[in-house]
């Protein structure tokens, strides 16, 4: 027993500060958040204790999930995530594939594709807000104006101002920004495959397509999964890009993160906490299976 303690003692001591800090500031505050979401603190007076507040357990969740407005936000989040994921994975993968066979000036292409990631969502949001201006015909600017100039007038649309699918227009800048990152992931994956495997396949008489289909692509699946998780959880947390293109009060682009912001700024802490918890649960649904899977593999 003492022996075991001795062996574990030093590492534990070393880890203790970060364990304690993470325990308080991550898990402790998550617990506080869940606690707040189970109360009826909907006004400023209740937060300072001037008016009584009580525990309502899951009422806030039921109210939120039952409200049409929050369902609209969830639907927007789903649409946004699906398009964002599909777009970045597809474009990132194709770029990586194209760059995979060594070509002249590869470094330049890589830099060009990866560059948008260096720009913050807020900064690119300001530019895309202008590009995605919904004015058409005479008042057109941004992309709509570009379509006019090249004679593609029919492509003009009101972008994110469509109340049903508007949110997908905001996925366009998100895809623009992160495709390069997914490309870099896939490119690293391609480069990580030993050259001998390709040679062996060639010796066995595989065509280029067969080489990709049966030798290279299967080895990329862990990369694809990582990309899916990284982009997926970024999408669920999307707030800054949406806020800098649209406004928090615009109904057409509302997502849960925006709802949380609005609840918080109207002193409705219980509902803000409930939205936060819902987001946390959704992210956990995506990330936890992945963590379990990688954990198993390492064992």
């Amino acid at each position: 027993m003492t022996k075991a303690l001795k062996r574990a003692g030093a590492p534990l001591l070393l880890l203790a500060p970060s364990l304690i800090l993470v325990g308080i500031f991550v898990y402790g505050l998550i617990a506080v958040n869940f606690g707040t979401s189970a109360t009826d603190i909907h006004t400023a007076a209740q937060t300072t204790g001037r008016e009584p507040s009580g525990t309502v357990w899951f009422d806030n969740y039921l109210d939120l999930l039952g409200s049409e407005a929050f369902q609209h936000s969830l639907k927007n989040l789903l649409l946004y995530t699906v398009l964002f994921l599909a777009g970045t994975l597809l474009i990132g993968f194709v770029w990586a594939w194209l760059l995979e066979s060594p070509i002249k000036g590869e470094g330049i292409f890589r830099a060009v594709y990866l560059f948008p990631m260096a720009v913050s969502f807020v900064a690119s949001g300001v530019v895309w807000r202008w590009l995605l201006n919904s004015g058409q015909d005479e008042s057109a600017t941004g992309l709509n104006r570009l379509f006019q100039m090249v004679g593609l007038d029919f492509m003009q649309n009101n972008w994110w101002n469509n109340v049903d699918y508007g949110i997908t227009a905001i996925a366009i800048p998100a895809i623009w920004q992160l495709s390069g990152y997914v490309m870099a992931l896939f490119l690293a994956g391609f480069r990580g495959i030993p050259y001998e495997l390709r040679e062996a396949a060639r010796v066995d008489g595989a065509t280029t397509w067969q080489l990709y289909r049966h030798v290279l692509f299967p080895q990329l699946s862990p990369i694809a999964l990582s990309a899916l998780i990284i982009i997926g959880h970024m999408s669920l947390k999307s707030f800054d890009l949406i806020m800098s293109i649209s406004k928090p009060a615009n109904y057409q682009t509302k997502v849960p993160a925006v709802d949380m912001y609005i609840f918080k700024s109207s002193f409705d802490y219980a509902n803000a906490a409930a939205v936060g918890s819902i987001l946390l649960v959704i992210v956990a649904l995506v990330v936890v299976p992945y963590l379990i899977r990688t954990n198993r593999k390492e064992k």
């Binding site: 007076a45 300072t48 919904s134 615009n250």
Partner: protein
């Protein structure tokens, strides 16, 4: 690099400076050595106004140091968020800017700001401010803030050249919305954007002025004290007018904020815009002349009504330097303070004894209206309803104008938004 180290040095010295002073204040000197004034006046005419005010403050209270706690960004939303956190953490500034009226309700209910009624007697403000205004500021017999300036929200701005080109008298005033809609129809037929509007809050601003026009001052006030029924047919008619007004507006509205919508009128890309009287700064900055290049009249059907909003200052509970705050409140409510501030900011003094000669032509006309019109409280600017109600109304309006709900649903959502509080 150099800039970075300079900023670092400045912020270091600022920190040490304030902590020293706090130490002194806490040491029993009564806290009159400094005052931290929390505002969102960080740029443009607002910053100029604040600077002018500080000039007067330094003269009147040389012993008290002014500490600028301005937070820039988001038309005050960044500042309000920070303020909320600071109040929750019991770390209030000595005084903070807030819209006078119902926006203060949350702070009052939470017990975060002090009753200032005694200061109104001490500074003789009940005589200096119009009785209507003092009524509007009073809640349960107490007044929690002192206004530094007054703005008028129900103004209709127009581009004179655009109107003239389409055969409309640029200085025409309208008695009713219907008269105005006829001109808007004519403009639309001529291919001009008749009315520019921007994102959700400006749509609420437009909605508020149309409610005011159709219901009259009394009916409009009733919306906030419960005597006017939101489900009534009069409100339905007003919402129909709002729907019609929105049909004349630019399609890219949700992507714009008020300066861009006003710019459309300045540039002649739109004929009309409904905005508060701060819009005049945008016209004048670009060399446009009031009366010749542009006109400003009350929103049709609201002549004789002054839809007011005001910036005002408070005394938070537990302010570290209450005497500093007292000095600041004295300056902002004094004739000199109000004159200096409003001449620079473009708004008008809340005091009725200010000399019109110190102000511009437009301000003079606004001061005259303020002295004689019926005063009502603005919804979009926090005077008429608490924050949560305003947020719910904004949501419902955005939903309606993007086409996600119909008029019936809109009306019942508005009714629900006001019933909740």
């Amino acid at each position: 690099m150099v800039a970075g180290s300079v900023i670092a040095a400045l912020s270091l010295s600022a920190c040490s400076g304030s902590s020293n002073n706090e130490g002194g204040g806490g040491g029993g000197e009564g806290g009159s050595d400094e005052v931290e004034v929390f505002t969102w006046w960080a740029a443009g005419s607002e910053k100029a106004g604040l600077d002018a005010l500080v000039g007067v403050f330094d003269e009147q209270h040389p012993e008290t140091e002014f500490v600028n706690g301005a937070v820039a960004g988001g038309a005050g939303s960044a500042a309000k968020d920070l303020l909320q956190s600071r109040l929750q953490a019991s770390d209030p500034p000595d005084t903070f800017q807030a819209h006078a009226g119902a926006e203060l309700q949350d702070y009052i209910n939470a017990g975060q700001i002090e009753d200032l009624s005694s200061l109104y007697d001490e500074f003789d403000l009940r005589e200096a401010f119009p009785a209507d205004l003092v009524d509007r500021l009073t809640q349960d017999g107490k007044i929690y803030s002192i206004p530094s300036n007054i703005h008028r929200a129900n103004m209709l701005w127009s581009n004179s050249a655009v109107l003239q080109d389409n055969g409309i008298d640029p200085n025409r005033t309208y008695n009713s919305l219907d008269e105005w809609f006829e001109d808007l129809d004519a403009l639309q037929d001529a291919g001009v954007t008749p009315l520019s509007v921007a994102t959700a809050w400006t749509q609420v601003h437009l909605l508020e002025t149309i409610l005011l026009s159709d219901l009259g001052a009394e009916g409009y006030n009733g919306l906030w004290d419960g005597t006017t029924d939101w489900e009534s047919s009069e409100v339905t008619a007003a919402l129909e007018d709002f729907e019609r007004a929105m049909s004349y507006t630019n399609s890219d509205r949700d992507g714009l904020d008020w300066p861009e919508a006003t710019q459309m009128v300045i540039d002649g890309n739109a004929a009309f815009n409904v905005m508060g009287d701060w819009a005049i700064a945008a016209f004048e900055e670009q060399g446009k002349e009031y009366g010749t290049d542009f006109a400003a009249v009350p929103v049709p059907g609201t002549d004789g009504v002054f839809d007011f909003l005001a910036d005002s200052f408070t005394l938070p509970v537990g302010a570290p330097h209450p005497e500093g705050a007292h000095a600041w409140l004295e300056t902002i409510s004094s004739l000199e303070g109000q004159t200096a501030f409003n001449a620079a900011k473009g708004s008008i003094p809340a005091r009725t004894d200010a000399d019109p000669a110190d102000f511009s032509e437009y301000q003079q006309s606004a001061m005259e209206s303020f002295g004689q019109d019926t005063i009502v409280s603005s919804l979009a600017h926090g005077a008429a309803a608490p924050v949560a109600t305003l947020n719910a109304i904004t949501d419902a309006t955005s939903k309606f104008t993007t086409g996600a709900s119909d008029l019936d649903a809109f009306q019942s959502e508005l009714a629900a938004a006001t019933a909740a509080n």
